[in-house]
C-alpha cells in the first residue's frame, strides 16, 4: 500500500488533513502528518519530513502532499537526504493539499500503485466549486 505524508507549515493543518483523509480512506491507510517545525511552530522541518517518509514507506512508495513555499522546498531537501533507492519511489504530488490528499488517500487505500495515486491526486486540481 502506498503511504501518504502530509506536509504543512501548520501542525494543525497537517493533522487536520490527515483526519479528513482517514475519514474517507480505510482506517489502516498509512497517513503521516509532518506539520510545523520540530518545536511545533509555524514552518517546515526537512528532518521531520524525512522521518515521516521513511515511516510511511512499506515498499510501495510514498505520495507526499505539501502546502506552499518552504514546505515544498523542505520535501525536495528531505528527498535528497533519504536513501536514494527509497527516494525513487517518493513523489511530491502536484495537487492541492486538502483535496489532493483526500483523493490520493482513497486511491492508495484501494491498493493502487504510486503512479495512479499521484494521477488521482492531480485530478483533484480540477474540482469545480462554482
Amino acid at each position: 500500500m502506498v503511504g501518504i505524508v502530509i506536509v504543512s507549515h501548520s501542525v494543525k493543518i497537517a493533522e487536520g488533513v490527515k483526519e479528513l483523509a482517514l475519514q474517507m480512506a480505510r482506517k489502516d491507510q498509512l497517513i503521516i502528518a509532518a506539520g510545523g517545525t520540530d518545536t511545533g511552530d509555524i514552518g517546515s522541518d526537512p528532518m521531520k519530513i524525512q522521518a515521516a517518509i521513511e515511516a510511511a514507506d512499506k515498499g510501495d512508495g510514498v505520495a507526499v502532499f505539501a502546502d506552499l513555499g518552504s514546505a515544498v522546498m523542505s520535501v525536495g531537501l528531505a528527498k535528497e537526504m533519504i536513501d536514494p533507492q527509497l527516494a525513487q519511489r517518493v513523489c511530491l504530488a502536484n495537487a492541492p493539499i486538502v483535496e489532493g490528499a483526500i483523493a490520493g488517500a482513497v486511491e492508495a487505500a484501494m491498493g493502487s500503485p504510486l503512479e495512479k495515486v499521484l494521477e488521482t491526486a492531480y485530478g483533484a486540481r480540477n474540482m469545480e466549486k462554482q
Binding site: 514552518g43 518552504s70 531537501l77
Partner: protein, 206 residues
C-alpha cells in the same frame, strides 16, 4: 590567524545582530519571520560548531552549518541557505586555504543549490539578486588580478547594489509574490541577509 571557524562565527553573529532588521523587512512583504528564523538557525549552528576543533577543516564546518540551518530555521531560508552551505562545502574539500577562484566556485555552487531548491532566477526579488551579482563581480575582479580580499570587496559592493535593485522590482517568488506590485519599494529580506553574510566575511578578512 584567521580560521574558518572564527570566520563562520563572525558571519553568524552578524546575522543574529540583524535579527530585528531582517524581521522588519520581512514583515513588510513576507511572513515576518526571516530575522527570527535566521537568528534561531545560527544560534543552533553555534551550538553544533562549539564542539568542533578550532582548526576544523572548512568542508566539515560548512556541512555542519548547512545541516544546522536545515534542521532549525523553519522557514524557506532553511532549505535554501542549508543547501547553499552544503553545496559550497563540496567544492572546498581537501583545501586548507581558500583562494579567490575557489571562493567564487563555492559561491557559484551555493547559487546553483539555491536555484535547484527555489527554482528562482535573477530579477525575481530573492537572495539571488544579491548573490549572482556578487559572483559576477568576483569573476571580473579575479580576471583583473585582484587579491582575495579585493575580490570579496567587489562582491560585497555588487551584492549591496543588488539589494538596492530588489526595491525596484516585483516579487514573483515566495510569500511576497502574493503582494505583487505592492512589493515594490521594499528590499528583499533574503537578498539582505545574503549581503549581511558577505559583508561580515569581508570585515573579518580585511
Amino acid at each position: 590567524m584567521t580560521t574558518a571557524k572564527e570566520a563562520l562565527r563572525v558571519v553568524g553573529q552578524a546575522v543574529i545582530d540583524k535579527k530585528s532588521y531582517l524581521t522588519d523587512l520581512d514583515q513588510a512583504i513576507g511572513d515576518g519571520d526571516h530575522g527570527i528564523n535566521m537568528a534561531r538557525g545560527f544560534e543552533s549552528v553555534f551550538k553544533k560548531i562549539a564542539v568542533l576543533d578550532d582548526n576544523i577543516d572548512l568542508t566539515t564546518l560548512l556541512k555542519t552549518v548547512g545541516m544546522g540551518l536545515i534542521s532549525s530555521v523553519g522557514g524557506a531560508a532553511g532549505p535554501l541557505y542549508g543547501t547553499a552551505f552544503l553545496r559550497a562545502s563540496g567544492v572546498c574539500a581537501g583545501k586548507t586555504e581558500i583562494d579567490a577562484v575557489t571562493a567564487k566556485a563555492m559561491l557559484d555552487a551555493a547559487i546553483k543549490g539555491i536555484q535547484d531548491r527555489g527554482k528562482a532566477k535573477k530579477g525575481e526579488k530573492t537572495m539571488l539578486d544579491a548573490l549572482i551579482p556578487a559572483s559576477e563581480a568576483m569573476d571580473i575582479a579575479i580576471k583583473a588580478g585582484k587579491t582575495e580580499v579585493e575580490c570579496l570587496a567587489d562582491a560585497v559592493q555588487a551584492a549591496q547594489k543588488g539589494v538596492e535593485y530588489t526595491k525596484t522590482i516585483i516579487a514573483t517568488k515566495g510569500r511576497a509574490s502574493y503582494l505583487a506590485e505592492r512589493s515594490i519599494g521594499h528590499q528583499d529580506p533574503g537578498a539582505t541577509s545574503s549581503t549581511v553574510m558577505l559583508e561580515a566575511l569581508y570585515n573579518y578578512l580585511e
